[in-house]
Amino acid sequence: MSYPASQIGTADSRLLPVAMACLAALPLFSGSRAFAEPVPDYNEIQPLVEKYCYECHGGNKTEAALDLTKSKDFASVLNDRKQWVLALDAIDFGEMPPKKAAQPSKAERAQLVDWLSQHVLNFDAEKFKSPGPGMVRRLTIAEYRNTMRDLMGLKSDVVAEAGIQPEDPGEHFDTQANHLSVSPLLMEKYLAAADAMLARIVPTSGKEALLDREASARLFFTRPVEGQNPAVAANQIIHRFAAWAFRRPLEEEELARFMQIFQLAQSKNYSFEESIRAPLRAVLIHPNFLYRIEQDRNVPPGQSYPVTDFELAARLSYFLWSSMPDAELFALADRGELRQPGVLMQQVDRMIRDPKAERFIRNFGGQWLGFRKLDAALPEQRYFPDFTPEIRDAMAQETASFLMHLLRSNGSIYEILDADYTFLNRQLAEYYYPPDDYAEPPIEMPAGDEFQKVSLKAEADRRGGILGHGSFHALTSFPDRTSPSERGKWVLGHILGTPPPPPPPNASFFDEDEVQQKQPKNFREKLAMHASEPACAGCHAKMDPIGFALDNFDPVGRWREEVSGEAIDTFGKLPSGETFKGVDGFKALLMNNREEFARNLVDQLLRYALGRELAGYDEFAARKAVKELQENGNGFASAIKAVVNSYPFQHRINSQGVGTSPVANTNSSLTQPAVQAVQLEPSNNPQQ
C-alpha cells in the first residue's frame, strides 16, 4: 500500500495503517519476568517525612510550593526526583528542618539521607527508565501556523488573518501539552482560518480574487473525467489532503466518512469544488489535524514500544521545523525506511540545512534564551532613546544568528557560555560601539545590514557568549535600570537549570524597623537590605552576586563603568564560597561548571521536544544524551542528534495504561507532584 505522497491509490486500495505492520515485530511483555531487586519501599521513610516535614510541606501549608504528601510510593517519588534530590541536600546539610523546628535524631537523619541517597540520588536510572506517557498534544499556535502554510504551500498567513494569537507561556515551553487548551473562542478562529485557507485553494464564488493558483493546483491534482463518477476524483483528492493533514495513512472507514459529506453536498447540487470544500473543512478542524495523536498498541500498560515511522517523522519535523513532515520524510516513512542505519541522522542533517530550521532557532532558542519575546522586554525608549524597536529586533537577530551558526557548523555548545565572536550588522555594532565614543573600533565592524560573524578580539572577554548579548541584558532589566536579581535568576534557570523557587507570599513587605535603622550607601546595599529578610535571603544570596558581576552592562546592552557617578562593584561571592569578579570572572566560573550547562541544555531540548516536564524516569536518557554529545565534540547539532536518538524521543507507552499527566517537578521550582506517577515496568525492549 502506498502513502499518497507520491502515488495515487485507487478507490479500492486497502488502507491499512502502517502501524499494524509494525506490531508483528514486537515481542509481547512477559509478565512473569521478575526484577533483580525489589522496587524500593517508600514506607521505610514516609513516617519520618510526615513527622518532620509535613507541617510546612504538606497539604494545607506548602512552603516553597513543595507538597511532600503527594509522594506516596516509590513511583511517585521518582516522578519528583528532582525535588527529592534537593530535599536530600537540604536534609544532609542540616538546612532542613529549619533550626527552630523539631529536629530528627542523628539516626533518623542518617536514615533519611541513606534512603534518599541510595534509592533516589543513586538509583538505577536504566532500570527505571520510561519514555513517559504518550499524550494527545494540541499543536502550538506557531506549529499550527506553519502547518497551515506548509500543507498546501500557501503564500498568505491565514492564521494571522483569523486573529489567532500565539500563546504566552511564561516560564515553560509553549510545546508543553498540559498547557495547550482549546476554547470556544479559539474554535471559532480555527474555523475562520480553515475558511480562509479553503478560499485560497478551492475556487469559491465571490472570492475568486483570493485563489492561490499554485496551491490550488496542488490540491486539484486530478479532476473528474467526462463520463466518470466524480466521486472517483473526489476520493483521491480528499484522501491525499487528509493523509497529509493527519500526517499518516487513513483507514478505510475514515475516508469513507469524509466521502459521505462529499456525497451529501453532491446530492444538494453543490458544484464539484463546493462538494470537495465541505469535507476538507472537516479535515482542517479535525482533532487528528489540530492535535498530535499517536496510536496506542495492544500491549500491557506501561510497556514501551517504538513509535511508528510516521509518528517519528512528525516528532522529528515538529522538533526541528515546528511543522508537518515534508514529502521526503513522508516517503521514507511510507517505505518503512526512516529507521534504517544512517537514514535518520541523514535526515536530521538535511533538516538542519533546510531554511525551515530557522523555526527551531526561533521557537526553541527563542524561548530557551528568551529572545522570542524581546519586543516585550521592559526597558523604555523614554529612558534610552537609542533603544529603538529596530535595535530590539537586531539584538534578537544577534542571538538567533549565533545559535544558527552553532547549529549548522556543529559548533561547541560551550561557545554559548564563552566565545570570541558574535553576529552583528552595522547598525547593532555601532549601537554597542558608537563611533563618537570609539575613535578606533575595538572589534571588526561589519559593513552592511546583513548579519555576519564578527571577531570580538579583545572585547571577547566582555561580549563573547550569551552573557554579552544585548538580548540577555534587555530581558533582565526594568524600564529604567538593571535588575541584578533578574539577571542572577536568569542565569541560574536558563543556563544552569537550577532556578530559584517563586518568591514567598509576603514578598512585598519588609520590617519597618530594619528599614529605618540603616541608610543604604548605594544601590547594592539597598538591594541587600531588601533581601535580608530570612525568607528572601536564601535565594537572593544565589542570584544577586551573579547580577552584580554583570552590572557593567546597562539595561539596554551597553557597557558602562559607573552608575550614578559611582564605580560599579562587580565582585561576587556565592553561598558555596566561590568568588568572581566581573563578567569574565563569572564566565570562567561557568566554564568550570560546564557539565551542568551541558546537562541543562539536554534537559531543555528534551522538554521542548517531548512537550512535558522531565521526571526520574527520564534520567537515563538525559545522562546518555549528555555522554553522546560529549563524545561528539560537544557540538550543538550533536546535542540535537543525541536527543533524536534518545529513548523517549523514539518510544512511547499507551495513553490508557498510566492515565494522567506525567510529571511533577517543573524546571522552575519545587512544585507539587502529579496526580499519578508513571507506572514503572522494566524495559524489555530489545531495541534499546
Partner: protein, 485 residues
Amino acid sequence: MHIPKAPQLSRRTILRGLGATLSLPFFEAMMPTAYGAVSRAAARQAGPPLRFALFSCGAGTVHESWKPKNTGALTELPSILKAMEPYKDDMLLLSGLSHSNKGSHGVRHKGHLTGVLGLVENKPLKETNPNASSFDQAIAQAIGDQTFLASLEMGNLPAKATHHYRNGDEQPLEPDPRRIFERMFKDREPRIPEWGAASSSAGAAAGLPVDSVERSVLDLVMQDTKRLQAKLGKTDRDRLDQYLTSVRSIEKQIAFLEREVAMRKPDRAPSTALDYMAPHVPEMIANGTYDYDQLQKEDAYREVDIYGQYLDLLGDLMILALQTDTTRVVGLNHEGINEWTGVVTVGFERHYHSLQHTGNGRQSDEIAREGCRQVHEWFTRRFAHLVGKMKAIDEGGTSLLDNTLLMYTSYMAHGGHSGEDFPVALLGNAQGTLRPGRHVAYQEKTPHSNLMLEIMNRFGLETDEFGESKTSPNAAYNGRLPDLV
C-alpha cells in the same frame, strides 16, 4: 450612521434551501448544570432579562481612598470614587470580602473569580482544580443557551492571562475590538430586541434537518472525537472534552443563527409598529478605522489617552452586546498600561508594577501610594462614563443599568497581590434584587466566594455553595451575604 452590513457568508447560502421554521430541541428542556438547575420559568419572563457584567482592573485599590468611613447610606464618597457621585444611589459598596488562598504571590489572583484554593505557580488551574468554573462562567453555562454567545470575555491582560474558567478550562480574552465586533455580528445584524413584546422564542416547530452539509461537518468531527476518546486515558480524554465543548458551542451558534434567520422571514409581521431598533455602533468600528495592531506596534499601548480610548471602546462593545442580547454575561478585564505619565503627577516613578509594590501594603512609600490612588481614580472615571451610558439606555421603562448586575472590582485587594478586602462595587439594582445607595461592611476576611454565590443565585442557579464559601477557614454568614437587598 452607517451600520455594517452582515456579509453574504456560507451559512446563509446553505440555508437558502431550508424552508420550515427551525427550532432547537434543547430550548425546551430544563438545563441541568453543575451548580443546580435553572428554572425555565425564570428564563421565559417577559421584559428585558437580567445580565451580568464585570469590570475588573489590576492592582487593587488604595483602601483609605476607596472605602467610606461610615456604613449605611452613601454620603461623602472617598476620592477614588468621586467620579461616581452622580450614581451614588445606584451603587452598593461592599467591603471586607477576601480570599484565603495562600498560593505564591504570582498566582493568588489567577482564580479570584473561582474562589478555589490550592493554585500553584506554573501549573494550569485544570491540574489543581479540574472542575472549577469562575462564577461568571457558571452563570453563562446556565443561561448562555438563550443567546448567540454564551458569554463574552474581553480585555488586554498581559501574558494573555485570563480569570475566566469553565470546568477548569481557560476561557481566553479577545483583546481586539474589531474581532470582538466580528464575533458578535459576522453573520447577524445588530438589532435591539423588542422587550415586553410576546416572548420571541416562539420557534417551537420541527427539529433541524439532519442533512445540512455544515452540520455534517461538525457531526463528523464530534463523532470521530468520541471514537478517539474511547481509546484514550483520562487526561487525554479530558483534553478532547475541551475540544468537544468548543465544537458544540459552534453548533449552538449555528443553530441560533438559523433560528434568528427564520424569525426574520419577510412574511412574518412585526408585533408593533416599531420593528427591531438599531443600536449605536461605535464609529471606529462601524467605519473600520480602529486598528488594534497599530496600537501594539507603536508602543501606543504605553500612552494613557490611547489606552483610555481603547478601554472606552470595549465598554461600548459591552453595551452593544447586552443591548442586542447577543450575550447576557460579559467580562471586561483591564490590567492597565505600563507607564502612567499624565495620570501620575507626583514623584518620578511612572511604571505601574513598581508603583503597585512600593505604594501598597503596610510599609509603603507615600508618594507611590498617591500615584496608585491617581491611577485608580482614573479607572473609576472611565467606569463612571460606562455607568452613565447604561443608565441612559431605555429598555422599555427600565434602563440597561436596572437590568444589569454590574460589578466593579479587581483581582487584587491592593497592589501587593493581597487577597484581603477586595474593592467591590455593584451597580444597578439587578432588577430589584439589590438595594444600592449604601456601603455594607462585612466582617474581616469574609469569603469573597459568598458574594459570587449570591450573584449566581440571582441568575437562577439554585446552589448553596461556591468556591470556599463553606470551606474557608474564615467562613462567615453561613456562606451567604446578608443585607444585600
